[in-house]
Symmetry: C2
Subunit: 146 residues, 2 copies
């Protein structure tokens, strides 16, 4: 069970935008240069984020992308749902129709459901703002205060 690189790349792209709120639209090329994410692949990911309403894209020269909401109102869960679809799904193979022992199957499902709920609660508790603060705090030793 793994988190795809789409999830990592997408979240990093959002973090990149969150750290530059107010600087006007950020071009995907710049994100590519800073984050080292393949540019074409990044573009696909940005489309997913736009369709989910997390970012806005401005076309044409001097265009780019920016967060659709302030960083405090975008959670990691928002990003992962947009990029990877629902968490912890169980397609349960081809025998999904056999009616044998539905009891045991339901038990297993309840465990999965509980796991998903716990995971979603955790991911929904982390916003882009939190992550930016965490980053700023970590390089705090090098920061200058006025």
């Amino acid at each position: 069970m793994r988190i795809s690189s789409k999830g990592e790349y997408g979240l990093r792209a959002l973090l990149d935008l969150a750290q530059r709120v107010g600087e006007g639209p950020i071009q995907s090329h710049d994100i590519h240069l800073r984050q080292g994410i393949d540019e074409n692949y990044l573009n696909q990911i940005l489309i997913l984020l736009r369709r989910a309403g997390l970012i806005e894209s401005i076309r044409g020269p001097q265009g780019g992308h920016r967060l659709a909401r302030p960083p405090s109102q975008i959670t990691v869960l928002d990003a992962l749902l947009a990029l990877e679809g629902p968490l912890l799904t169980f397609d349960s193979g081809r025998d999904a129709l056999t009616p044998t022992e539905p009891m045991d199957r339901n038990l297993v499902r309840e465990v999965w459901d509980g796991a998903r709920e716990i995971l979603e609660r955790y991911l929904a508790s982390i916003t882009l703002e939190d992550l930016c603060q965490r980053k700023a705090q970590r390089s705090g030793a090098m920061m200058y205060y006025i």
Copy 2:
């Protein structure tokens, strides 16, 4: 991000064994009949469980499988690790070597690590015994007490 059917089937097989502790070895064919899991596929899954030390297999006629430990000492996490390998891994695509912005990557990783820890703690808190009890309780209305 999904849990494969291997995880569901394997856990159901373990539950099947847990409900028949003390009845001697249970044959994979019987599990197949009760749970409706493809017999050949089930055999592969049982091998995984045996290699992980969760069950023991007895060969020959009247052979079969049984739990290697009491149901109270086998957790859902044990089963999932045996069947699906480590939870919530992030292989992060082919660019894993580019040294750009390791900070953001680490931030994302920490979120993932936190998620995994939370998930593992939850799954490790549920034993086969818990699930059997839950099942017995649910059909409690139909039970006879001596």
